[in-house]
Amino acid sequence: MTEPTTAPGPNKPAPVTPVLTKRWLSPTSWSIKTYEQLEGYTALRKALGGTPEQLVELVKASGLRGRGGAGFPAGVKWSFMPPNEDKPHYLVINADEGEPGTCKDIPLMMADPHSLIEGCVIASYAMRSHHCFIYVRGEALHCIRRLNAAVREAKAAGYLGTNILGSGFDLEITVHAGAGAYICGEETALLDSLEGRRGQPRLKPPFPAAAGLYAAPTTVNNVETIASVPFIVNGGSDWFRTMGTEKSPGPKIYSISGHVTNPGQFEAPLGTTLRELLELAGGMKDGIPLKFWTPGGSSTPMFTAEHLDVPLDFEGAAGAGSMLGTTAVMVFNDTVSVPWAVMKWTQFYEHESCGKCTPCREGTYWLTGILERMVAGQGTPADIETLLDICDNILGRSFCALGDGAVSPITSGIKYFRDEFLALCDQNAKTSAPALAGAHS
């Protein structure tokens, strides 16, 4: 293991550390001309001068962890790819950004698509892949457009295609548009979708590294993960580790939205707290106090004002009972009803449940029905227990993480704001007999 090189004191990084976002202010930052002027494709030359094994080792040493939510070490994932090439290898980029609150990959692909393309070429070389797919959410049309233009430019400049920069390495990149399904952000559902099927998750194992796209060895990585790679190649693993924490190194794009004065994208070292992020975002809007927030999208259990100083890295968020997720920080003030917000999120999961497994398909349906009834003022005190019971039957019993994510807002909402749910029930106690849950549809 590499020794940690982060130390507080004179080496403490700045509150905002633009790495992935450092070109975004440049005019036409998405063009190859701008990219090449700002260190673009220098990492590729360096990488092609080394071996695939060296690159896998570098990414391992950097401690780069997957930026799509799960935080799996990227270098370790790469090392699962077989060393031989009995079957073609594929690199697939998960650009199906759709987790509520998450809005980091889309601005990245719009502002700096070449960083993703360069990362794809380096990662493909490291994993001996000759065809890379970028699966972009269909609604992100402007990203698809910019990526296609970037592929075109990179090909014309010799960074893509056959015998890249005279190295003998060949790579094609295909930009593929999705068609509107949150579940396709799940890596095996994404692969099924990319194969032209309904986007439904596959049983694991076999994991994609053994049998992924077309049953061939495949690695699926998030956009931000792969876009980080050229910087790691140029700066080295020790440089990467000057930001973030020992187990969660590097910078991360925090997307701050909701009731703050200045919402936006802030690239800060992993482990930054909400208190620090709020300062960057100009504080709570109109001075109305914070009520609840998510550290990384709606699938990560909510936090409250008690959690302002939780370090937002993979360990910190998990230690406080949530998950880092996609660092999609949604901030809600005192004016927002928690049961209402939870109902809205649950309607989302009901709509996006793919229908493959019963706990998620049926569970999200009933959760939505009960929550809608409660928010309409017709809840019963038993509803809270029923909700928790259904959640218990979904969590860990669903086929994929969508079901687990669906219960997060409900269980955390009841944990911190049970009184608000109870208040909806009290309203009903004064009126007539409850309607049956599900009677709304």
Binding site: C103, L141, A179, R197, P263, K344
Partner: protein, 286 residues
């Protein structure tokens, strides 16, 4: 005697005649309310409308190691012709990819972006997921539904104001999180972003669309129509170089997107500079 034999695992329990074997067959055709010829005959649509896109459909297939991967883009392609995925569109894709219509249909009905009813000239999608909703997305959706409705009836989800496909017609939908939360509430028109909307600005936007105007999106290419967007999703871009660059160079640098980078620039904050000459790590040759 039994055709069912033993159960999986070798047990004889439950072996014997099935229920189905003990009752008479139902005369399905006899009890069907649908005339027999519609049940048994495979109905083949006239696919002539797709003749001009056969070349494009074949071009999509060449992008992939296996042809079936072309299905999602091809469904976008048929939407660029008809403004929806019709039975004919499904049969066209099936024929191009050597799939059954049932296989294509199963896929087409799974994804939200494939529309079963013909869309208007423009598709207006309002994000009503929690964060946008709390910032005004629900109010925007309600205001648009009322404004675009007629005869005292609100325009509902996936309904169209005006004659579908005709100039000025608008299909309205509520959408799930559109991944622009720092810019909420957001609307997309033909998947181009209109950020930081209000009910008033949204109403003005659809009025402009109905009047045949093409308001500039906050982020995205100059506005065209839904069918052109679908053609782009299928991977076909303007052939004229100037037009192409105009779409690619459409704006994207929202204040919110650049907020952190700008703050860092103003305060002189940077990441630690790279060390000089960092070699790739040494690894043992295998």
């Amino acid at each position: 005697m039994s055709s069912t034999g033993s159960t999986y695992g070798g047990s004889g329990v439950g072996a014997g005649d099935t229920h189905q074997a003990t009752v008479r067959d139902t005369d399905v055709l006899g009890v069907s309310p649908v005339p027999a010829e519609h049940l048994v005959a495979e109905y083949v649509e006239d696919l002539g409308v797709f003749d001009p896109i056969v070349g494009k459909a074949q071009a999509i297939i060449t992008r992939y190691p296996q042809s079936r991967s072309a299905l999602l883009p091809m469904l976008h392609l048929v939407q660029s012709v008809e403004g929806r995925v019709s039975q004919a569109g499904i049969q066209f894709c099936a024929a191009q990819l050597d799939l059954t219509a049932a296989e294509v249909s199963a896929v087409a009905t799974f994804y939200t972006m494939y529309k079963r009813k013909t869309c208007g000239e423009h598709l207006v999608s309002v994000c009503t997921n929690t964060l946008c909703a709390v910032l005004g997305g629900d109010d925007i959706y309600k205001a648009l539904g009322e404004h675009l409705g007629s005869d005292g009836k609100k325009l509902g989800h996936n309904e169209t104001a005006g004659e579908p496909g005709e100039p000025g017609s608008i299909t309205l939908e509520h959408a799930e999180c559109l991944a622009a939360c720092d810019l909420g509430p957001v609307i997309q028109v033909n998947y181009e972003f209109f950020d930081n909307q209000t009910p008033e600005s949204a109403v003005a936007l659809v009025d402009a669309l109905r009047a045949g105007e093409k308001p500039a999106p906050t982020r995205g290419a100059p506005l065209r129509d839904f069918r052109t967007a679908e053609l782009e999703l299928a991977g076909f871009w303007p052939e004229d170089e100037a037009d192409y660059r105009a779409t690619v160079d459409g704006p994207s640098a929202a204040v919110e997107t650049l907020r952190g980078a700008k703050l860092a620039e103003d305060r002189g904050w940077t990441a630690v500079p790279y060390p000089d000459d960092v070699p790739l790590p040494e690894v043992e040759k295998k």
